[in-house]
């Protein structure tokens, strides 16, 4: 077990390093110096070349690529991801300030999304009427296909401006969190619902369900005590990707709902070509991804008894 965990940990570290390297290649080797992009072109001409070089030096953009890479990598290992070109703030501080907001939003959205997805899957399996069942089973594809950028705007228009139930901008408090969390949850719930729905249907068709019925158990309890666990366990393995989706979804949600957070930070940084910040964010999501996956990988055999006895090959 320990060896298994260590193996997974090793892989996780490799992935993080890979993400670091890939983002470095993409970001630092761009044709223009990030400093260049700090200035509107119409002002650039009036910048003193010496001052410009000083700035390049301050950020280390004047060094050869490999040296920049090593410097950054070593610094990153010490937990230093450089400073934002735009604001001069250390990247870690910037991320640290933005993160709590996004975490709150993401956790709420995740809970909502999971509950929603689970309800759809449950109800669609429970209902006896075929057309009602098909109707509900048609919801997840719709969620998946909806342009999420439009969704936020529509939600805000309807629930905030038209009905006035919730404030459009999320200040403090729970009420402000509702709409953004919903807007983020809906697109995220689509794939989860699809997965759960499929799992519910396959599991419900499994012979062990017949066994449960033959004991005289009613449908609702069969779903709860037999199908539910079997159908939702595999969704855990999507954890890493779902967390990634939440963070990515925050880009649009936070902009639309005027919230601070990683999403806004990302969009601004990408627009401003704030290379250190973008790389810091890439590292953040990569670390989140591998952490979640690591936890899932290591704990999955504990929650799914079948996996305790299976040879290596099944877990790819």
């Amino acid at each position: 077990m320990l060896k298994y965990a260590l193996l997974k940990l090793g892989r996780a570290l490799i992935v993080v390093w890979g993400a670091f390297t890939a983002s470095f290649i993409l970001l630092y080797l761009m044709p223009a110096s990030p400093i260049e992009l700090l200035f509107p072109p119409d002002e650039r001409a009036s910048i003193d070349p010496q001052a410009f070089q000083e700035m390049e030096r301050a950020y280390g953009f004047d060094l050869p690529a490999w040296q920049q890479y090593l410097d950054r990598l070593l610094a990153a290992l010490r937990g230093d991801f450089g400073t934002s070109v735009g604001t001069g703030q250390p990247v870690l501080t910037a991320i640290g300030e933005a993160l709590p907001n996004t975490v709150i939003l993401a956790v709420c959205a995740l809970v909502l999304a999971s509950l929603f997805a689970l309800s759809i899957a449950w109800v669609a399996t429970y209902l006896e009427s075929a057309w009602l069942r098909n109707l509900i089973a048609g919801v997840p594809p719709l969620l998946v296909s909806f342009p999420s950028f439009l969704l936020g705007l529509i939600i805000i228009k309807v629930f905030s401006f038209q009905l006035g139930w919730f404030p459009p901008i999320s200040g403090e408090g729970l009420r402000g969190l509702v709409l953004p969390a919903v807007a983020l949850a809906i697109p995220v719930s689509g794939p989860i619902a699809q997965l759960l729905l499929r799992n519910f249907q396959t599991e419900y068709a499994s012979p062990y369900v017949l066994t449960s019925y033959s004991k005289g158990i009613r449908k609702g309890r069969v779903l709860n005590s037999d199908v539910l666990r079997n159908a939702s366990l595999p969704a855990l393995t999507q954890g890493g990707i779902i967390v990634g989706e939440l963070l990515a979804g925050a880009v649009i949600t936070e902009t639309i709902f005027s919230r601070a957070g990683i999403g806004r930070l990302t969009e601004d940084a990408v627009r401003a070509q704030d290379v250190p910040v973008v790389q810091g964010i890439v590292m953040l999501v990569a670390v989140c991804f591998v952490t979640v996956n690591f936890v899932v990988d290591v704990s999955y055999p504990l929650v799914d008894p079948r996996l305790k006895a299976v040879p290596e090959g099944v877990i790819a």
């Binding site: 298994y4 017949l210 033959s214 037999d226 008894p305 290596e312």
Partner: protein
């Protein structure tokens, strides 16, 4: 009043975009208390469909007409929740496949407790909020597990299904069915996935329960031997209708229906003599041995000496090792059939694959056609071919039958053109008695028996001397099984083939093999000619195996 009665029941399945297909047509049938009724019939004859309709467990796309009564109450149109009142306590159900019929993520104990709780609650023996009753329920559960033939229930109580063997799982399912204390037990092929030895134990057990508790049993099987052995009444189904009904004796001696007769003829357990080959009309043109490779004249086609193989699997640092072959030795004369028998996991496949060069042995020697040493893949495949248990998975689903059977020729004989290959394919189909029009079909469009013929035709295409058949007929219906065996016998005679034949079915061995090795846990228990091993077994284990063949005592 009958426990269960069907009156003129018809069942259809709807498939999207297709005509509804009728799975059960006009069946009338009743089960009385203390009676064991078996339904036999080939695969797809509607057995499962019929009995599931009695407890409302048909899939949503089915439609029923006619009358089904449980304790006199018509069940037509009942919802799951209405049915729930009858299930478990009135009618118990043992599903077809024990491997997948238990919830994989729930401990065994909880699965049986669920059933107990339903009954206790329904009989008002257990008020809601059952915290105090844990102990009571647990002891009840133990009682039923023991009753189902699991002598040490504590040992498995907190285990998960995957930690049990197939036989144990089946017994757990029986315990679950019994724990509702039903008046009627419906069992859908409760033993088909099991070894003959385990099968016998379980059937004995059901018999006992019937006698002791006086419950009615409706048992489905496709094994006529089982039915003849046990049933008060046998119902033979075909294409959804009942074609014959009567006691075991009536069926055995006075079957009127042609299909029943064929079933009787085909059941290996009922056979006495060995198959006699029929002349075969193959060997015309193209393919015939024109490739110049000499057929061996060695006395023994296969000589296996002290072959051992140990598998180690590692998980989470713990190493498990299994001795799949332990100093195995046997010889097979050219032109004869040698059978390897033994229960599941005995190492039969492992040895077959070592002989076929698909897997390396840890130690020991395999001589083929008198030659030892390493054979090249290509050279080996000209002399030896392998036929797999599952015909579908051994045939590429995207290839046409013609391409499938001539695939080895395509690889080995670059000199033979496309046209000629097609000719050869047609001849090979003739050889395995498959109509030529099947040449264009894909494997998925064939029945199991047809697909296995294609696999055999492919094995023959290079004109090999040795054919290894790893459970090549086990997955097939008995009637189809008999046809294939006959075909193999015919081919053997025509081409003086040597067969290494793997099976767990002693009936088949009796029918087909010249010599036999009995394997247990990787080692050879007994090895001699078939007649002497089966007629006069020296080992306890062999005796047990022989004794477990259903229907054998009827003819012995």
């Amino acid at each position: 009043m009958s426990l269960l009665s069907f009156t003129d029941v018809n069942i259809w399945y709807n498939r999207r975009g297709e005509q509804p297909s009728q799975a059960v047509a006009g069946v009338s049938l009743a089960v009385e208390p203390g009676e064991l009724v078996t339904i036999v019939g080939e695969s797809g004859s509607g057995k499962s469909t019929l009995i599931r309709s009695a407890i409302g467990l048909l899939p949503g796309n089915s439609r029923i007409s006619g009358e089904i009564r449980l304790a006199g109450a018509g069940v037509a149109g009942w919802s799951h929740n209405r049915f729930a009142r009858y299930r478990g306590t009135y009618v118990g159900f043992i599903p077809q496949d024990p491997g997948v019929s238990l919830n994989p993520v729930k401990p065994i104990g909880r699965q049986i407790e669920d059933a107990l709780r339903t009954r206790l609650r329904r009989r008002r023996l257990l008020p809601f909020g059952n915290g105090a009753h844990t102990q009571r329920i647990r002891s009840e559960a133990f009682r039923f597990l023991e009753l189902a033939g699991l002598p040490a229930p504590e040992a498995i109580y907190s285990k998960y299904p995957h930690e049990l063997s197939g036989g144990m799982k089946q017994r757990v399912l029986i315990a679950i069915a019994l724990s509702g204390e039903p008046k009627l037990l419906i069992a859908d092929e409760p033993t088909s996935a099991l070894d003959v030895t385990v099968q016998k134990q379980i059937l004995d057990h059901l018999d006992l329960l019937r006698e002791e508790l006086g419950i009615g049993i409706l048992l489905v099987t496709h094994d006529l031997g089982v039915a003849l052995d046990r049933a008060d009444r046998i119902v033979v189904m075909r294409d959804g209708s009942v074609v014959e009904e009567g006691t075991g004796g009536e069926i055995l001696h006075g079957a009127r229906d042609g299909y029943t007769r064929r079933l009787l003829d085909a059941a290996p357990g009922l056979h006495t003599g060995r198959l006699t080959p029929r002349p075969i009309g193959l060997g015309s043109a193209k393919l015939t041995r024109a490739d110049g490779h000499e057929r061996s004249t060695a006395e023994y086609a296969i000589e296996v000496t002290n072959v051992s193989k140990t598998f180690t699997t590692r998980r989470g640092g713990v190493v498990h090792s299994v001795k799949a072959a332990d100093e195995v030795s046997f010889k097979v004369k050219s032109g004869t059939t040698h059978a390897l028998v033994g229960e599941s996991g005995a190492g039969k496949s492992t040895i077959a694959r070592i002989v076929a060069g698909l897997r390396a042995a840890d130690s020991g020697e395999v001589r083929l056609l008198g030659q030892a040493g390493r054979w090249s893949r290509k050279r080996l495949s000209r002399s030896l071919q392998f036929v797999y248990q599952n015909p579908y998975s051994s045939l590429d689903p995207r290839f046409s039958v013609a391409d499938l059977v001539t695939e080895p020729i395509r690889v080995h004989r670059k000199d033979i053109g496309r046209r000629d290959r097609h000719e050869i394919a047609l001849e090979l189909l003739d050889g395995v008695r498959l109509p030529r029009r099947y040449a264009r079909r894909k494997a998925g469009e064939l029945s199991g028996g047809q697909a296995q013929r294609v696999a055999i035709a492919r094995a023959l295409s290079l004109n090999p001397e040795i054919v290894i058949l790893d459970e090549a007929v086990s997955a097939l219906d008995v009637s189809v099984q008999a046809e294939i065996l006959q075909l193999l016998a015919d081919l053997q005679a025509a081409y003086s083939l040597t067969y290494l034949f793997i099976t767990h079915d002693l009936g088949v061995v009796k029918l087909f093999a010249d010599t036999v090795s009995v394997l247990r846990a990787g080692s050879v228990v007994e090895s001699a000619d078939t007649a002497s091993v089966l007629g006069n077994p020296q080992q306890e284990y062999t005796k047990l195996l022989i004794d477990s063949v259903p229907g054998s005592h009827l003819t012995a």
